[in-house]
């Protein structure tokens, strides 16, 4: 009897493991595949990439669907690196990217598809540094941030910044960061530490722009960075100066556009070679007033009118 029990238990065990793996594998492959089998004869534009831009991209897609019902734009996140990988593999029509494509990635795209990636700046993002709303700190500079986040950095207590963070009893500075395929991660590292230096290990690497703000809002000891569009009433955005002694500016449309806010960056959309007619029309709509209004509504910085006109004209030329 015992023998019988044991063997049935074992094979059940094996079967469970095999089944779980099978499910995992099929789930993975399904995610990567393009789902360009529209149920209702619609044209599908696959749009994937940056987590920072995923809210914006979704809002665009929804508004565009009301305007042009025949085209369905399908949006997913995953990180800028994921979007570019999808573009290179041919599973995405548009890759959202919160950093510029690297030369290595451009080379790979040319190699894989024989086409040049086309870059479109669709808006700007001021990267905000968040702390808990009960934190008395109001401004910080890039040098201090580098000491907090950089490898061999010396700041790991709130008191070292000259404040008494009473809500955080242990005084320990909890660094909140992003996973390493995030464009935000790359941009923040380059802006603070330059090309060579790495982040210090031991930061809490979260998996989404929203999660960072969510966690900082619930953790009085934490400091974190994310797009300024993700702010809520549990957190505070710090004013940022370039160096000690220089004036600090808060993240806003004006400071991002005139360059006084030090960590603002363009948001990109990439296509491969000559985009399809639907994709081109979609991009053109993004550059229209309606499209740019959504940029502002989702908490990002819209392009100055001159720039959006120029980009729109360039799209005509690609045609």
């Amino acid at each position: 009897m015992t023998v019988l029990r044991e063997s049935s238990g074992r094979s059940l065990h094996m079967a469970c493991i095999a089944l779980a793996m099978l499910v995992a594998v099929t789930a993975c492959s399904r995610e990567g595949e393009p789902t360009d089998l529209p149920a209702t004869g619609k044209v599908v534009v696959q749009n994937t990439g940056s987590d920072t831009m995923v809210n914006l991209a979704q809002w665009w897609a929804e508004q565009y669907a009301e305007l042009v019902p025949a085209v369905s734009v399908e949006v997913s996140g995953g990180g800028s690196g994921t979007g570019i990988a999808a573009l290179i593999n041919g599973t995405a029509d548009i890759a959202n990217c919160s950093r510029q494509m690297e030369p290595e990635e451009i080379r790979k795209a040319q190699q894989n598809t024989g086409q040049d990636p086309q870059e479109f700046v669709v808006g700007y993002d001021a990267l905000a540094v968040y702390v808990h709303r009960d934190n008395p700190l109001n401004e910080i500079n890039l040098e201090q941030l580098a000491e907090i986040y950089g490898e061999d950095g010396r700041i790991d207590k709130w008191s070292q910044l000259g404040i008494e963070n009473t809500a955080c009893k242990s005084d320990e500075l909890i660094r909140v960061s992003r996973q390493s395929n995030s464009g935000t991660y790359y941009y923040f590292r380059a802006a603070l530490l330059g090309k060579e230096r790495d982040f210090r290990l031991g930061s809490r690497d979260l998996h989404g722009s929203k999660d960072v703000v969510e966690l900082v809002g619930r953790t009085p000891c934490a400091i974190g960075y994310s797009g300024m569009g993700y702010t809520n009433d549990r957190v505070k955005m710090l004013k940022i100066a370039r160096k000690t002694g220089e004036p600090a500016y808060g993240p806003a449309i004006e400071t991002a556009l005139d360059g006084s806010y030090p960590i603002a960056r363009p948001l990109y959309m990439y296509t491969l070679g000559r985009p399809s007619k639907e994709t081109r029309k979609y991009l053109q709509w993004i550059y229209s007033d309606a499209g740019q209004a959504i940029v502002e509504e989702t908490g990002f910085v819209p392009l100055p009118e001159k720039e959006s006109k120029k980009a729109s004209a360039r799209l005509e030329k690609v045609e």
Partner: protein
């Protein structure tokens, strides 16, 4: 008559083959997946890997520009600490609940219990992760005065909650499978209910119970999304229950999407997959040997 007999013979043969195929396919899948994972990581394993650094360095810098370092010591420590804590909580609770459900409770309560436990198993891991990220985080900060609640403790408790249903349902099956004649014999000898459970049922069902615990361990080691969110995902070797960690599975989940196919980073992530396979394999073999040892006794 002749036809019907022949039809019966053929269909029986056919069914036998189909069943055999099902059995074999499980093995084929396991080996196929192992082969795939190993192949993807093998280039790096044989040509570039510094084995000593891989296992002894806690420095995990896969996306560094100047100096890439692939050390998984901190990740192994993360997986081990979270799993150990989860099992410390889940095994006594799970086995206790299994014994209660199987031996000590009435049929009505039993049905309710089983439904509730199955409900617990049906909660998706992302939801568990979100509970860890929000509710448990704040709770741990409040209770322990910790700077942050995304810790080994958080991940361990979440994982324990996730593996308890597995342990309970398999464990209960194992106890149920003990023949009633054992129970009758024990009672005839004047044993109390608890004496019967402790002296007769547990030894008789020990293999099944061990399988239950192992399935729980497998669930805990392999869980990805919940630990990704609840442990804080920080590359450190934990010194206390209130430190953040990062596990092997969460690292693969977070980084595989970004890694360019066949790059070093990509291959190292697959090597971590091989490592996970090996850990599960060793756990199973050990359990097998223990069971064999017990039987020989």
């Amino acid at each position: 008559m002749e036809d019907r007999r022949r039809f019966g013979f053929i269909s029986e043969l056919l069914i036998e083959w189909i069943i055999r195929l099902c059995g074999i396919s499980a093995i084929v899948f396991v080996f196929g997946i192992f082969f795939f994972v190993f192949r993807e990581g093998s280039g790096f394993l044989f040509h570039k890997l510094n084995i000593v650094e891989f296992f002894t360095s806690p420095e995990w810098y896969p996306s560094s520009v100047s100096h890439k370092r692939y050390g998984v010591l901190a990740l192994i420590a993360g997986t081990c600490s979270v799993t150990a804590l989860a099992m410390l909580i889940a095994v006594p609770f799970g086995l206790g609940a299994a014994i209660f459900v199987s031996e000590f409770c009435g049929p009505k309560l039993k049905e309710t219990f089983k439904i509730v436990i199955e409900l617990l198993a049906a909660i998706p891991s992302v939801v568990w992760g979100f509970i860890g990220l929000t509710l448990m985080n704040e709770l741990i900060i409040e209770l322990f005065d910790a700077p942050i609640g995304l810790t080994v403790l958080n991940g361990g408790v979440i994982l324990a909650l996730m593996s308890v249903p597995v342990i309970v349902s398999i464990g209960e099956d194992a106890l149920k499978a003990v023949p009633d004649s054992y129970r009758e014999a024990a009672e005839a000898l004047g044993a109390t209910h608890w004496q019967m459970t402790y002296k007769v049922l547990l030894p008789a069902a020990k293999n099944g119970l061990l399988a239950a615990v192992l399935l729980g361990v497998a669930r805990a080691v392999g869980e990805t999304m919940a630990v990704l969110m609840a442990t804080g995902h920080a590359v450190t070797i934990p010194h206390s229950l209130l430190d953040s960690v990062r596990t092997l599975t969460a690292t693969i989940a977070a980084e595989l999407g970004e890694a360019p196919v066949h790059s070093d980073h990509y291959q190292v992530l697959f090597l971590i997959g091989v490592l996970l396979f090996t850990i599960t394999f060793v756990v199973n073999i050990t359990a097998d040997l223990i069971v064999k040892g017990i039987r020989r006794e």
